[in-house]
């Protein structure tokens, strides 16, 4: 299972980074979201994989997964959302200022291939 999980976290990160490197703001937002999923899963994995061992104390149970990474990830999820929201606001502001959704605010010359409706 460890190899499968490591592989899928790597795949999520790779997909996220590929989208981060695209030239349009919306792709960057999507990429960052994917990368946050990868990071959150990675942080959770720091507590090792465990099934049916939630860190909720109950009488008769002694076997719990490490709660510390979960506490970190919980706030990370919320802050990750804040970052996505901020990036969206930035993208909207940039589009208002430059009229473009290109990340550098400059339309490339060969963007004539834009799909016409």
């Amino acid at each position: 299972m460890e190899a499968v999980i490591a592989g899928v976290i790597g795949l999520l990160a790779a997909c996220g980074i590929y989208l981060l490197l695209r030239g349009r703001t919306f792709s960057v937002v999507l990429g960052l979201a994917l990368l946050s999923y990868a990071v959150n899963l990675f942080l959770l994995a720091m507590g090792r994989l465990a099934i049916h061992r939630p860190p909720i104390l109950a009488s008769g149970r002694t076997d719990y997964v490490d709660p510390v990474p979960q506490a970190l990830v919980l706030t990370a999820i919320v802050i990750g959302f804040a970052m996505t929201a901020f990036l969206i606001a930035l993208a909207l502001r940039a589009r208002r200022e430059t009229g473009s959704d290109q990340v550098d605010g400059v339309e490339m010359v060969d963007s004539v291939t834009r799909l016409e409706p």
Binding site: V4, I9, T25, L44, V65, P67, V73
Partner: protein
């Protein structure tokens, strides 16, 4: 006591500024106080030093870094200290009468004292890092003093050049000293000086030596770093006399002398220091002859004499070291007096050009006599101090056998240098004081005020005294200073004027006759020089500087070209490189053990995750589809959280996922729905390669961690104390609101800052909408009836759910974060189901106030624990028995969690509402 010596002038630098309104004399007296006290202290402490004792004192400063305020007073430090304070006093007197009424005397004196303190610090420091601090301070004060007449462009350029060259050397010196301290195991000179053999045999010795020499050579204006010194002559003449001949430029040779016992004696030292010194000696003596500027001649002569001292130290024998120290003394005295004499001539005639200055002897006979005596000392005429050290130098070159078959070369070159030195001294004497009549002088000179001349008289008297009776004047000081340079028993040497007929005497005679002859035939030499001009150091320096700026700018433009793609590629590429190198060296993939078997359910979740992620990338240009796919990834992550025992995370992710999707859809109203295919196949391939590389790195890292046994100390601690210390069974929630409450406060604040930032970013309005094909015909028709009707009911139910999740959070999955997000969903549904303005009015919620209330609540809860004498955010809990309901637990952490709840609701609602404003709906119609 010793630390006070440099401290007094440094603090005393304030005195001239404080006394400026009491007139120039008061200012000069106030300045002199600092120098006199330091000089008196030195003399008071000197008797044991003459007996060979090394005085040390100081205290610790930053012992972790090896930087301490430790000082030492040995023979070398005493010699330099006396030169600095003694000549400093004379310069203070001289400057009082030299500087014009319109010049700001107090600023000049303040800088001069600053320099004096810094220079005393250099020579008295026992700690090498401390020495470096003072070293840089001398560079800075030199910069300010050269640029004293800051309205003149040559002063500014000269100051800048001096600072760049000496500060660059200072950087090299810093690196060298760090290496030296590393090798010797300490930065204290008392330790370092005892580790000579270790240092010389260390493999880093060559690198360290070159770095230290770079510092010394730039400071002491050795070729090829000499060019800054002639341009530093733009400084007022007292500064030239003090810093740029007697003291600061000697800091480099001081350092060589200071480290002589531990660095000298190797072949590398011999060739690097010796050859640099020899070449500088010859080259600068040659260049000095052709200077038309009086101070320019003296500047090149200074470079040449510094080269001579460097050469003597470079030869590396105890006797040459003695000669080097002796020449340091003699040069300081005769060159300071020469500069002051040149300053008097400049002061009296308003001109420094030797082509105009002729025949001044009959106007200023007394000053002329003094200047001629000092110049004769510079030329090495017998019965003057310069003769003695030059004779010692000649004698050493004759006896040196280190160069084997070419040993004859050194005495020959030494004689050539002597000839040039006599020739330029002759030019100084003959051109200025004789050689016809003055040409077009601004004014004809008179004898200067007696106090302006007095320092020159004192210095020339010392030249004569040392020259005539060395054994009764300079001998003890020389012996004690040389002893601390040699670092062992002193070799036997004689300071007698007459050694009988010998080869050195013949060399001296040859130099005198040859120099006179050369000056006699100077026209031929001038023609030769005009045909083969020397390269202009300033020009080359400026070319180098310009080239450096151009290269730096190009590099910056390449790295920082304004393209996000470039930055991210560099960042990710670098991270991948670091990761690969680290992983390779760390070997964390070599050992592994597996804990969790593959099961079908987990495998399904993972496959779904992979599929949705890949599809998000695949459909990224059809953005609506991409948002759906991204939502799929998020929901699958929720499943993963559920599967791997993280119920709190699953709840959080679920609610966040819904809010994120709403937000992305809102954003798509203002961004194109479809993206163009604009990047080339090559670039896509390159990006994919980079992404794959990074992905493999992340996977390897995860694998490396997952396959080694967990460290469970922290987990065990929190699991054991959660119920007892925090009063809750949900350990994740207890960590968040209790154990790590301060962290959570910080993270909640980040959320607030993001919300405020978004509000600020979008306060100017939104971009024009891109997706609305037509304005809806009837406003009401836009909201489905069913949704509108059920929304009110949903609100009540969802809020009830939120309250339930909040209350159970301490013991079961839930808590403030999740309850807050559920509340956001309830509120957002109201906006989806109805008109924006009407909903806002109906809800009547002020989200900024909600945020502020949440923060206040957390702060009050945190501070309340202070009332009972506990640290900030300490929590408490109690069980209360209520009728009917039964046992209820009240925890103060609940108030904290309520604060978190309010912050989450306020912030996330702000983030949603800002881009959700309906104003944007009324934008232009697009086909």
């Amino acid at each position: 006591m010793i630390p006070i010596i440099p401290l007094i002038p440094l603090l005393g630098a304030l005195l001239p500024l404080l006394t400026r309104q009491h007139g120039r004399n008061a200012c000069a007296w106030a300045t002199a106080v600092g120098a006199v006290v330091s000089l008196a202290l030195l003399l008071w402490l000197s008797p044991p030093v003459f007996k060979g004792v090394v005085l040390q004192s100081g205290w610790q400063w930053l012992p972790e870094l090896g930087l301490n305020l430790t000082f030492r007073l040995d023979g070398l430090a005493l010699l330099f200290g006396l030169l600095i304070t003694g000549i400093g006093l004379l310069v203070i007197l001289y400057a009082r009468y030299y500087l014009a009424e319109r010049d700001d005397l107090s600023r000049f004196y303040a800088l001069l004292l600053l320099f004096m303190g810094a220079m005393l610090g250099v020579v008295l420091a026992d700690n090498l890092l401390l020495l470096l601090v003072f070293w840089e301070l001398t560079s800075l004060s030199s910069f300010l003093l050269i640029g004293y007449w800051h309205d003149r462009i040559d002063a500014r350029q000269g100051a800048q050049m001096a600072l760049i060259v000496t500060a660059a050397g200072g950087l090299a010196l810093l690196a060298g000293i760090l290496l030296l301290g590393h090798i010797a195991g300490s930065f204290e000179l008392s330790v370092v000086l005892a580790a000579g053999e270790t240092i010389k045999n260390h493999p880093w010795y060559p690198v360290m030596l070159v770095l230290i020499l770079l510092g010394a050579f730039t400071k002491s204006a050795q070729f090829p770093f000499h060019f800054w010194l002639p341009h530093a002559m733009a400084a007022p003449t007292p500064v030239s006399a003090y810093l740029h001949s007697a003291t600061m430029v000697k800091a480099g040779v001081f350092l060589l002398a200071r480290l002589f016992p531990i660095l000298a004696g190797t072949d590398l030292w011999f060739y690097l220091v010796g050859v640099t010194g020899l070449f500088t000696l010859l080259f600068a003596a040659y260049a000095a002859l052709f200077q038309h500027d009086l101070k320019g001649l003296l500047a090149y002569s200074t470079i040449s004499h510094l080269g001579l001292i460097t050469l003597l130290l470079g030869l590396g024998t105890p006797l040459t070291a003695v000669a080097g120290v002796f020449h340091i003394i003699n040069h300081a005295i005769f060159k300071a007096s020469l500069f002051m004499a040149a300053g008097i001539i400049d002061h009296e005639t308003g001109c420094r050009d030797m082509r105009q200055l002729n025949g001044l002897f009959k106007y200023i006979p007394w000053t002329a006599s003094l200047a001629m005596t000092a110049a004769a000392a510079m030329a090495g005429v017998p019965l003057l101090n310069g003769f003695l050290s030059k004779e010692m130098f000649f004698a050493q070159t004759v006896h040196l056998t280190a160069m084997g078959d070419t040993s004859w070369l050194l005495p020959v070159l030494a004689t050539v240098a002597g000839i040039f030195s006599v020739a330029y001294s002759a030019r100084f004497i003959h051109d200025v004081f004789f050689n016809g009549e003055p040409i077009n002088l601004p004014r004809l000179p008179h004898e200067p005020p007696p106090y302006l001349r007095a320092p020159v008289e004192i210095l020339v008297a010392i030249c004569l005294l040392v020259g005539i009776a060395p054994a009764y004047t300079v001998a003890p000081l020389l012996a004690t200073a040389a002893a601390s340079v040699v670092g062992g028993p002193l070799p036997s040497y004689s300071l007698a004027i007459w050694h009988g007929f010998s080869l050195p005497l013949l060399m001296s005679a040859l130099a005198l006759i040859g120099g006179a002859a050369m000056y006699w035939r100077r026209r031929r030499l001038f023609q030769l020089r005009d045909r083969y001009p020397l390269p202009d150091g300033k020009f080359l320096f400026e070319c180098g500087l310009t080239a450096g700026i151009v290269i730096a700018r190009r590099l910056t433009d390449t790295l920082e070209n304004g393209s996000l793609h470039r930055y991210l590629s560099l960042l990710i590429g670098m991270a991948a490189v670091v990761g690969v190198v680290g992983g390779w060296q760390g070997g964390f993939l070599t050992e592994h053990q597996l804990f969790q078997p593959v099961d079908l359910l987990s495998l399904l979740v993972v496959l779904l995750l992979a599929l949705t992620a890949v599809l998000t990338v695949f459909w990224q240009r059809q953005r609506l589809v991409a948002v759906v796919m991204l939502g799929g990834v998020g929901l699958t992550v929720v499943l993963a959280f559920v599967r791997f025992s993280a119920p709190d995370l699953a709840l959080t992710q679920l609610t966040v996922e819904v809010v994120t999707t709403v937000l992305l859809l809102l954003a798509l109203r203002y961004l194109p729905l479809d993206a163009p295919l604009e990047s080339t196949a090559g670039r896509r391939l390159r990006d994919a390669g980079l992404a794959a590389l990074a992905g493999i790195g992340v996977a390897a890292l995860t694998w490396g961690i997952l396959t080694r046994p967990p460290q469970s100390e922290l987990a065990d601690y929190f699991l054991a104390t959660s119920l007892l210390g925090g009063g809750g069974a949900n350990v994740v929630n207890v960590i968040l609101v209790d154990f790590r409450g301060f962290d959570t406060l910080g993270e909640a604040t980040v959320l607030v800052i993001a919300a405020l930032g978004i509000a600020a970013l979008l306060s100017g309005g939104l971009p024009s909408s891109t997706t609305l094909s037509s304005p809806p015909s009837g406003i009401e028709a836009r909201w489905p009836l069913l949704l509108r009707v059920s929304a009110g009911l949903l609100l009540a139910l969802t809020l009830l759910l939120a309250a339930y999740i909040f209350l159970r959070g301490h013991n079961l999955p839930g808590g403030g974060f999740i309850a807050g997000l559920v509340t956001v969903l309830a509120l957002a549904t109201q906006y989806l189901a109805g008109d924006f303005h009407r909903t806002t009015a109906q809800l009547a919620l002020n989200y900024q106030r909600l945020i502020a209330g949440g923060l206040m609540l957390i702060a009050v809860t945190g501070l309340a624990s202070g009332l009972f004498g506990y640290p900030f955010l300490t929590s408490t809990f109690a069980h209360i028995g209520l009728p009917i309901i039964g046992d209820v637990e009240i925890a103060s952490a609940m108030a904290f969690d309520l604060g978190v709840y309010l912050i989450v609701v306020g912030s996330v609602m702000m983030m949603l509402l800002e881009p959700g404003r309906p104003e944007a709906m009324e934008f232009e119609w697009k086909p």
